[in-house]
């Protein structure tokens, strides 16, 4: 694996872990604010999932295969 690929793999790994870590808004723990008919924490989750979809789409376009396909 070249250095560049290694860096990109590490970068995407961090992105994936971030996506997992903040799918639940831990900073709103025990918060009961309601906005537009739903709890605020639920709106965060909705937005986060849409963001995840966009990030996955970007990954699929740019770096699909990274870390999985071996480079000869």
């Amino acid at each position: 694996m070249t250095d560049m690929r290694l860096v990109r793999t590490a970068g995407w790994t961090v992105v994936a872990l971030l996506l997992m870590a903040l799918a639940v808004p831990w900073f709103l723990w025990r918060d009961a604010t309601v906005a537009f008919g739903l709890p605020l924490w639920l709106w965060w989750h909705v937005g986060w999932m849409v963001l995840a979809s966009v990030v996955f789409a970007v990954f699929a376009r740019t770096d699909w295969g990274l870390g999985v396909e071996e480079v000869a």
Partner: protein, 508 residues
């Protein structure tokens, strides 16, 4: 009585449409194993997306999830969103895409075949298939139980439990027998779209009736303030993370999901991956909010019933409630027929074939016919046994589902190591697979308690470890065992370390 007839008519008519699709797909199917189990790896994006979707979405989602939201609060949306939309999506890439590359190159149909080839071990192949079939059993049973409850709930007891559970059993046997992956995938697409639309219609109906989401949420908060605040009660951070991780890992090793990894082209895999979190969101938010909102509406859910049908019974017309039940039954059927189809491939390829070879009979064309027969007989026996079990099994839908998922989840780490770490050895795999299964089974069934009880002692295994479930602890144990034993053993001469080395170029 007329109402019952109308309800059953709607459910029955829907089932017939699904069967018709299966028959059409059957006519387009050639009889090779790759086509029967993998639709010759030619499914398109929408079909792959929905077949995966519909397979995941079963009685566990449609009844179990809302029940849990009704009992403990809407945070289940977060658990399932994190689990399915993100962790599973990442595993879809890391494990699924790798398996797709490896499987395509070597023509593997099952997980056991892939592992058996790499480690030169038939026992490993049989072991992995056996473990998978064991955990498949409660999950098929869960669908039958859900169907039985749905029919009882819909007809208010006029039709008994066993009719619903038995009916869906017959239907799924018939379906798998005539169809194969192509038929399963097509009905899954119809069912997925149908179910998604129905859930949103149900929400629209309810909210129009009571005056909007604001009112519904306010009433929910008035009935139980805990439902508005994030966390609390059942929902500890450990519970949220444990459930999300063990279910996501388990889903990845589900035979029917694992085989989905192989059924599309690379472009299709990419698109499915990117669309996944949004699709998941579109289903979980409305489905589980229905359960949570029901708390504020004074809905009484009798023992052994599910909140969604009861809620719709009160707030929507009879025909609509029946349609939703039909959608849910369809979801259970698509889950079950996919599971049975995949289970039968494990049975014939990973259990029957190796045993046959061990007893020395060679293969011939006559064997193909015999294998197809064994696959079908296997499906009938399996589904019948799980039907009988569904009549007697205790536990809620979520408990049963969670048990099955966590059982499968124990396989994920050894498989991931095998795919990526050349140092994994056969004995490392044995240790990782057997060790975690023993650990997990001892926590699910009261084996230790019973044995020590006979000796007059009172010893019990812990239900959780500092709030973490045995399912997650087992996953970590699998990592330690597989790596540890691999490090202290050497690869056997007939292991083939290079078999998983693949690049993406040939795969386009």
């Amino acid at each position: 009585m007329a109402e019952t007839a109308l309800q059953l008519g709607i459910v029955g008519a829907y089932m017939l449409v699904a069967l018709a699709v299966g028959v059409v797909a059957y006519r387009l199917t050639d009889r090779s194993a790759e086509d029967y189990y993998l639709a010759s790896r030619t499914l398109g994006t929408v079909v792959l997306l929905f077949t995966t979707f519909a397979t995941l979405l079963s009685a566990f989602t449609f009844f179990g999830g809302p029940n849990l939201a009704f009992a403990a609060g809407p945070e289940w949306i977060l658990v399932m969103g994190l689990m399915d939309g993100i962790i599973f999506a990442v595993l879809w890439y890391v494990i699924g895409y790798k398996q797709w590359l490896v499987g395509k190159r070597h023509g593997y149909v099952t997980l056991g075949e892939m592992l058996g080839d790499r480690f030169g071990s038939t026992p490993l192949r049989v072991l992995v298939a056996g473990v998978s079939l064991v955990w498949l059993f409660p999950y098929v049973m869960l669908q039958q139980k859900g169907a039985g409850q749905a029919i009882v709930g819909l007809t208010e007891g006029a039709v008994p439990f066993w009719v619903g559970a038995g009916g869906i059993t017959l239907f799924m046997i018939a379906y798998v027998a005539v169809s194969g992956m192509r038929g399963v995938a097509w009905t899954d697409t119809i069912q997925g779209l149908f179910m998604l639309s129905l859930v949103w219609l149900a929400v629209a109906w309810l909210l129009t009736d009571i005056g909007g989401a604001g009112v519904a949420t306010e009433q929910m908060g008035a009935a139980n303030g805990e439902f508005l605040a994030l966390g609390g009660g059942l929902y500890t951070p450990q519970f949220i993370i444990s459930s999300a991780v063990s279910i996501a890992f388990g889903v990845t090793m589900f035979p029917q999901i694992n085989q989905r990894f192989a059924a599309g082209s690379k472009t299709v895999l990419k698109r499915t991956f990117a669309l996944w979190p949004v699709l998941v969101l579109l289903l979980f938010v409305p489905a589980f909010m229905l359960g949570a909102w029901a708390v504020g509406l004074g809905v009484e859910v009798p023992q052994g019933s599910n909140v969604v049908p009861v809620l719709l019974g009160e707030f929507a017309p009879t025909w609509f409630a029946a349609l939703v039940i039909a959608g849910a039954m369809a979801a259970m059927m698509s889950s079950s027929d996919s599971m049975l189809l995949s289970g039968s491939s494990y049975l014939t390829r990973d259990v029957y074939r190796p045993l046959k070879r061990a007893f020395g009979s060679g293969s011939s064309d006559a064997d193909d016919a015999r294998e197809a027969l064994i696959a079908r007989v296997g499906v009938v026996v399996f589904a019948t046994l799980s039907f009988v079990a569904s009549l007697y099994s205790p536990g809620t839908l979520v408990q049963i589902g969670d048990t099955a998922f966590s059982g499968f989840a124990q396989l994920t780490v050894p498989v991931a190591l095998a795919l990526y770490w050349g140092g994994t050895t056969r004995y490392g795999m044995y240790a990782g697979v057997v060790g975690t299964q023993v650990f997990y089974v001892l926590h699910v069934f009261p084996v230790v308690e019973t044995l020590t009880g006979l000796a007059g002692l009172s010893v019990a295994l812990s239900g959780t470890y500092m709030g973490w479930t045995p399912g997650v602890v087992g996953i970590l144990l699998g990592l330690l065992l597989t790596v540890g034993v691999s490090l202290v053993t050497t690869a056997a001469p007939d292991e083939n370390r290079s078999v998983y080395r693949v690049d993406g170029v040939e795969a386009d």
